[in-house]
């Protein structure tokens, strides 16, 4: 069942339009992540849904009913802010219970509800403390508790983990995921971190410059990016994208790199129909390049190792190939040295091709 319809959203600040005609639905219980670089409009869309920004054009429907004109409270949404936005002069208990107090919920019931939420989030022992006496992770939990206690129709998260250090971020990410699996509240989550998007989302909307670049499951975006922007944005390290010319020689397809390097494709590799006389952009993810031939038909590419970045069990190998730079993620067995010649292998099915002008996916 569709819980939220976002129908042709437009946001203008004076003459400047920052969100252009965006439409999507959120299913009941779904965890939807809006991801994109800063300035792409993701937070603006979230704030329009929250009721903190006016909707310049389009309609917001919750359970089928138009809510454009309703206040944030009437929309029954709860929000977790990037800077937590905890009330510094109130205790944890007062922070979590503030919405109930404003709604004139009797004290005993309020206390019971605050306690229930605090127990779920394991902050029951902190109820008397002030926000300044809490660590970043504890503050984050209080902020989530404040949102939970209202039993909202929709949870909104505005980059809630970006103020935490890497370790705590991973931990809180897990907590949010577990919480959603337990509560199953419809959620909309904004982040610039593609890893957060991939790990948390049922569905991702990748935004670029106020437009939807692609919408789909994390697998859709990772395996079949719709354009160069999504291909480069999703996945770490970033996908290798190089301009190539594809041509047929003696019935075989040959990909020529800008600097003259060639990629041999195995016999029978089917490429999508190409545009611009075969001058296209080719993309391959670092983890799909390997220094050892894998079983089956693989493509090969030869070059010289330029730089090595060990990651522990893996190593990032940057290689110069006929004018292009490619990064491969390989298993580190101490076999690499800078300046050494190297042949990388890949499954041609992992190759992504994009139109060099429109930057859109081919095939």
């Amino acid at each position: 069942m569709v819980a939220i319809n976002i129908d042709r959203f437009v946001k203008r600040y004076g003459a400047l339009e920052v969100v252009h005609d965006i439409s999507f639905d959120i299913e009941e219980g779904e965890f939807l992540v809006l991801v994109g670089p800063s300035g792409c409009g993701k937070s603006t869309i979230l704030r329009m849904v929250a009721g903190l920004e006016e909707i310049s054009g389009g309609e917001l429907r919750m359970q089928g009913v138009r809510v454009n004109e309703l206040s944030p409270k009437e929309r029954q949404v709860a929000m977790v802010f990037q800077d937590y936005a905890l009330y510094p002069h109130m205790s944890v208990e007062q922070n979590i219970g503030f919405s109930l107090e404003l709604a004139r919920v009797p004290k005993a019931e309020r206390e019971a509800q605050v306690k229930r939420v605090a127990d779920i989030l394991q902050i029951g022992h902190l109820l008397e403390r002030r926000p300044r006496e809490l660590s970043g992770g504890q503050r984050q939990r209080v902020a989530i508790g404040r949102a939970m206690v209202r039993k909202p129709q929709l949870f909104l998260f505005d980059e809630p983990l970006s103020n935490l250090d890497a370790k705590l971020r991973a931990e809180m990410r897990g907590q949010i995921k577990r919480l959603h699996q337990t509560l199953k509240t419809t959620s909309m989550y904004v982040t610039h971190d593609q890893l957060e998007a991939m790990t948390l989302a049922d569905r991702i909307i990748c935004l670029f410059d106020g437009h939807i670049a692609q919408m789909g499951t994390p697998h859709d975006l990772f395996d079949r990016p719709a354009n160069v922007f999504v291909a480069e944005f999703i996945g770490s390290p970033t996908m290798n994208i190089v301009p190539i010319t594809a041509s047929k020689a003696e019935g075989r397809t040959v990909l020529t790199l800008a600097g003259g390097g060639e990629v041999s494709l195995p016999d029978g590799t089917a490429l999508p129909s190409l545009t611009n006389d075969g001058n296209v952009l080719a993309g391959i993810r670092p983890e799909h390049l390997s220094d050892t031939p894998t079983p089956g038909a693989t493509a090969r590419i030869e070059g010289v190792i330029d730089m090595l970045e060990p990651l522990g069990s893996d190593i990032l190998v940057t290689m110069q190939v006929g004018g292009a730079t490619l990064t491969a993620r390989c298993t580190d067995k101490g076999q690499f040295q800078a300046g050494q010649n190297l042949t990388l292998h890949f499954d041609p099915a992992r190759l992504h091709l994009f139109d060099s002008k429109t930057q859109m996916r081919l095939g």
Partner: protein, 290 residues
């Protein structure tokens, strides 16, 4: 204990010397004067605490102290309320904010003496524009110069007008420092604008309010030019405030000893008031409330 390094001490010396010369030494000398009988052309005669007894048994002193107490409290609290209201208004957004801001700050840029004299002309019974407006509205003759309560009300009004920008600035700055996201969180929690003000803005502005109270009590305690220029303490010394009483005894009656004693009593009085608020601030800090 951290040891100060010699270079730091050296750099602090000029300021401390200046404070010593213009504040500490005169204060000590005035204290010494307050223990002596002294007037023009005569040597000091040590009289112990006699001057304090004279001052504390003078009905004029108590009248001035009472006037000061009433005017200072009226000025400080009315001014505070108006400043909070205006700051909240500015925080909510006003039209033409820069022009409005300039208008609000303007009284502070006007010399105190000039300001008081202009008010005096405008309030001049029978000819002043304000006095005549009041009279034409049917309130009768606006003859504040013969009515001590009315005169002190005028003093209060002018004092508030002149110092409001200072209090407003402190409080407005305090309100501006409150993060916007707190208001957004409160709106999502279901707070009305009125509840936002009471539950978010006001509690978080208390440190700024305490600071402005301390400053304003200490300033207001020295209230002089408004009274001196409007009534000079009259009629019959009924509108005197402490600073005017001090001036009268020192420079009109030439009693430097009692004037000095009054000065020290004023210092003790304003320190007493300030210390209440300082204590409140200190307690908030200890509680970790900011």
């Amino acid at each position: 204990m951290r040891r100060l390094n010699p270079a730091a001490i050296l750099m602090l010396v000029p300021t401390h010397l200046l404070l010593l010369v213009v504040i500490a030494l005169p204060s000590i000398y005035v204290f010494w004067l307050s223990l002596n009988e002294s007037t023009y052309g005569s040597d000091l005669t040590f009289v112990g605490l006699d001057n304090y007894v004279t001052v504390l048994t003078s009905s004029y002193f108590w009248r001035a102290a009472l006037n000061t107490l009433i005017v200072v409290n009226a000025v400080v609290y009315i001014e505070l309320l108006i400043a909070i209201g205006m700051a909240a208004l500015f925080l909510g957004g006003v039209r033409y904010p820069k022009i409005m801001f300039a208008i609000v700050l303007m009284p502070y840029a006007i010399s105190e003496v000039v300001g008081v004299l202009v008010w005096k002309i405008m309030l001049n019974s029978g000819s002043g524009v304000l006095a005549r407006t009041i009279e034409s509205l049917g309130f009768g003759m606006f003859n504040w110069s013969v009515s001590p309560p009315l005169a002190l009300s005028v003093v209060t009004l002018i004092s508030i007008w002149h110092h409001l920008p200072f209090t407003f600035l402190l409080i407005y700055a305090g309100m501006l420092a409150i993060p916007k996201s707190l208001y957004e969180a409160a709106r999502i929690d279901g707070a009305t604008p009125w509840q936002e003000f009471w539950r978010i803005t006001l509690p978080l502005t208390i440190p700024a309010i305490l600071i402005s109270l301390i400053f304003r009590f200490v300033f207001a305690f020295r209230l002089f030019s408004e009274v001196w220029l409007l009534t000079a303490g009259g009629p019959a010394r009924l509108t005197e405030v402490l600073a005017v009483y001090l001036y009268q005894s020192g420079f009109k009656y030439g009693e430097f000893g009692t004037a000095s004693a009054t000065g020290w009593l004023m210092v003790i009085g304003s320190l007493g008031v300030a210390s209440i608020y300082l204590w409140a601030m200190h307690r908030r800090m200890l509680k970790g409330n900011d």
